[in-house]
C-alpha cells in the first residue's frame, strides 16, 4: 500500500514537472556549461569569441523569455511559475547581463585577467536571478539566491592578481553568507508559523489568522527575512559592504552587480511580501518606510564627498535602492510598477555610465577619479554627451527614464498617504544632482592637457553605449509603453 502511494506520488510529481517555465534557465545553464568546456580546450589568448557566444545566448534567451509574455504556467507542483512578473524581471536581468558582457572583454583584456570562466559565471548568475524571480516557494527562492550569490562572490574576486579585487570578493563573501543566515532563519520561522514553504499556501495560512502580527514567530520570521533582503539590495543600515565591494570588483562586474542582483533581490522580496504577507502590510511597510529614508539619505550624503567615481556610483547605487524602497513601502500597484520600471531603466543608465568609466580608465584601474574626466567633453564630444545623458538620468531629470521612474515611485508613496516619504525622496534626489553634475562640470568646464589617446572604442563597447543611451532616453520620452508592461506584470502577482 505504501509502495503504491509512493509510486503514485512519484508519477504525480513527474507529471507536474512542466519544463516550459524554466526553459530560459535550462538554456542558459546548458550554454554556460558548454562554454566552460569550450574554454578548457580553446587555445589561450583567443577567448574573445566566448564573449560573442554568450552575448548571442543572452539575446536568444531574451527572445524566448519575451515570447512567454502573457502566459501563466505553474510547474513543479507550484514551486516555479511563469507569469508576467517573472518575465519582466527576467528581461531586466538579461539586459544587465548582456550589457555587462559587452563591456567585459575590453576591460578584462586590459587588466590581464581575461579568463574564459567569466562568461559562464555571469550566465550562472543570471540563472540564479531568474529562479529568484520565478520562484513561488521559499526553497526555490533560496536556491536561486544562492546560485546568484556564489557566482557573484567569484566574480567580485575575479581579478586574482589584484589585491583590491581579492578583498572585494572576500568581503562580499563573508557579508553575503552572513546575510543568508538571517534570510534562512526568517524562512525557518515562517515555515514554523505556517507549516509550509509555498508562498501561496503561506498567504492562505496567514490570511486565516485573525491577528497575524500577534504571532511572534511569524513576525520575527518576517523581520529576519526582511533583514536578509535588505543586505542583498544594499539598504542602509545593511549597506556597509557595498562601497568596498563595488570599488574593488572589476568594473564590468560592478556594473552588473549594481543592476541585476539588486533587481533580483527586489523581485524575490516583492513576491514574498506582496503575495505571502499582504495581511501584514501595515507592519512591513513601516519598516520599509524607515529603510527607504535611511538608505536614500546615507547613500546620497556619502556620495557627495567621493572622488573615486566607482565609489561615488556605489553610494549612488545605495541611494537608488532607497528610491526603489519608497515604492516598496507604498506597496500599491503604482509604487510596485514603479520599482519594475525603475530597475529596468537603472540597468541601462548605470551600466552605460560604467562603460564610459571603463573607456576613460587605464590599466590597473587608474584614472578613475572625477578629476580625471577634465577635458573629456572637448576631446570626445559624442561620448561625453552619452555620459551626460546617463548622469542626467541617474539624477532624475526630465526627459530621461530616471525622472519617470522616480515620478512613479514617489506618486505611489503619495497615493498611499506617505507624503513625507515622497518629500524626503525628492529632497534627496535634489541633493544627488550635485555629485552627478560635478562630473559634468569637470567634463565640460575644466581644461586638461590629457589627449585621451589611450581610449579605444571597440564595437561591443560602442554597441553597449548606444543601447544604454536608447534605454535611458526612450522610456523617458514615451513612458507609457514600458509602464503598461510593468503594470501588467504587477497585476498578476
Amino acid at each position: 500500500m505504501e509502495a503504491l502511494s509512493f509510486q503514485q506520488a512519484l508519477q504525480q510529481s513527474i507529471l507536474s514537472a512542466n519544463l516550459i517555465p524554466i526553459l530560459p534557465e535550462i538554456l542558459l545553464s546548458v550554454l554556460a556549461m558548454v562554454l566552460l568546456l569550450v574554454n578548457v580546450f580553446a587555445p589561450a589568448g583567443q577567448k574573445s569569441y566566448l564573449n560573442y557566444i554568450s552575448f548571442f545566448g543572452i539575446v536568444v534567451t531574451g527572445i524566448l523569455v519575451a515570447v512567454g509574455w502573457g502566459g501563466h504556467i505553474e510547474s513543479f507542483s507550484g514551486s516555479v511559475v511563469l507569469d508576467n512578473f517573472a518575465t519582466f524581471f527576467k528581461l531586466i536581468f538579461l539586459v544587465s547581463a548582456g550589457l555587462a558582457i559587452l563591456i567585459a572583454d575590453q576591460y578584462m583584456e586590459r587588466e590581464g585577467c581575461n579568463h574564459g570562466e567569466l562568461y559562464p559565471l555571469i550566465l550562472f548568475t543570471v540563472v540564479g536571478m531568474m529562479l529568484m524571480a520565478s520562484g513561488t516557494d521559499l526553497m526555490t527562492i533560496f536556491l536561486g539566491l544562492e546560485v546568484m550569490s556564489v557566482s557573484l562572490y567569484v566574480l567580485a574576486g575575479f581579478n586574482r592578481g589584484s589585491i583590491k579585487s581579492n578583498e572585494a570578493g572576500l568581503k562580499y563573501f563573508l557579508l553575503g553568507a552572513f546575510s543568508t543566515g538571517f534570510l534562512l532563519y526568517g524562512m525557518a520561522l515562517i515555515y514554523g508559523a505556517t507549516g509550509t514553504t509555498r508562498i501561496a499556501k503561506i498567504a492562505v495560512q496567514v490570511g486565516q489568522m485573525s491577528l497575524p502580527s500577534a504571532n511572534i514567530m511569524l513576525l520575527a520570521g518576517m523581520l529576519l527575512m526582511l533583514t536578509g533582503f535588505a543586505f542583498k539590495v544594499a539598504a542602509a543600515p545593511f549597506h556597509m559592504w557595498t562601497p568596498d565591494v563595488y570599488e574593488g570588483a572589476p568594473t564590468p562586474i560592478t556594473a552588473f552587480m549594481s543592476a541585476g542582483p539588486k533587481a533580483a533581490g527586489f523581485a524575490a522580496a516583492l513576491r514574498i511580501f506582496l503575495v505571502a504577507l499582504p495581511t501584514m502590510q501595515v507592519e512591513w511597510s513601516q519598516v520599509f518606510w524607515v529603510l527607504a529614508v535611511l538608505t536614500m539619505t546615507v547613500g546620497n550624503i556619502t556620495a557627495l564627498r567621493q572622488d573615486n567615481i566607482k565609489r561615488m556610483l556605489a553610494y549612488s547605487s545605495i541611494a537608488h535602492a532607497g528610491y526603489a524602497l519608497v515604492g516598496f513601502a507604498a506597496g500599491n500597484p503604482t509604487g510596485t510598477a514603479g520599482i519594475l520600471f525603475y530597475m529596468l531603466s537603472y540597468s541601462f543608465m548605470n551600466i552605460g555610465a560604467f562603460a564610459i568609466i571603463i573607456l576613460v580608465g587605464k590599466k590597473g584601474e587608474s584614472n578613475g577619479t572625477v578629476q580625471d574626466f577634465a577635458g573629456f567633453g572637448v576631446k570626445h564630444p559624442v561620448l561625453a554627451v552619452a555620459m551626460s545623458i546617463f548622469l542626467f538620468s541617474l539624477a532624475g531629470m526630465p526627459p530621461t527614464a530616471g525622472f519617470i521612474g522616480k515620478f512613479y515611485l514617489f506618486s505611489g508613496a503619495v497615493q498611499k498617504g506617505y507624503i513625507w516619504l515622497a518629500i524626503i525622496g525628492v529632497l534627496n534626489s535634489a541633493a544627488s544632482v550635485y555629485y552627478y553634475l560635478r562630473v559634468m562640470v569637470y567634463m565640460y568646464m575644466k581644461d586638461s592637457t590629457e589627449e585621451f589617446d589611450w581610449m579605444q572604442l571597440t564595437v561591443p563597447m560602442a554597441l553597449c553605449v548606444a543601447i544604454a543611451v536608447a534605454g535611458s532616453l526612450i522610456p523617458g520620452i514615451v513612458p507609457s509603453f514600458i509602464l503598461q508592461f510593468a503594470q501588467q506584470a504587477v497585476r498578476l502577482i
Partner: protein, 100 residues
C-alpha cells in the same frame, strides 16, 4: 513533541552565538565557522519544526541548505587563499585597502 520549545531555544542560542562571533572575531576562517554555525542553527530549527508539524518540507530544506553551504565553503576558502597569496594574512583587519 512537547519539547519543541527546547529545540527552538537551543537553535536561537546557537544562532546568536554565531552572529556575535561574526561581529567580534577577526580571523576570516573563524568568521566563516561562525556563519556555518548560524546555518546549522537554522537547520536545527527546520528539523525540529518539521518533526513538530509532521510534514517533510523542512527536512528537504535542510538538505538544500547543507548542499549550498558546501558550495559556499568551496568558494569562500578559495577566495581566502587568493587573498592570503597577496597579503600573507586572512585577518579582517588587514582588509583595509578600501575603507571597510
Amino acid at each position: 513533541m512537547e519539547n519543541l520549545n527546547g529545540y527552538l531555544i537551543i537553535s536561537a542560542i546557537l544562532f546568536s552565538i554565531g552572529t556575535v562571533g561574526v561581529l567580534v572575531r577577526k580571523n576570516a576562517i573563524v568568521i566563516f565557522m561562525c556563519i556555518e554555525m548560524m546555518l546549522n542553527a537554522v537547520n536545527l530549527t527546520f528539523v525540529a519544526l518539521s518533526r513538530h508539524l509532521g510534514n517533510l518540507d523542512g527536512q528537504v530544506f535542510v538538505f538544500f541548505i547543507m548542499t549550498v553551504a558546501a558550495a559556499e565553503a568551496a568558494v569562500g576558502l578559495a577566495l581566502m587563499i587568493a587573498f592570503y597569496n597577496n597579503k600573507e594574512s586572512i585577518d579582517v583587519d588587514d582588509m583595509n585597502l578600501m575603507k571597510w
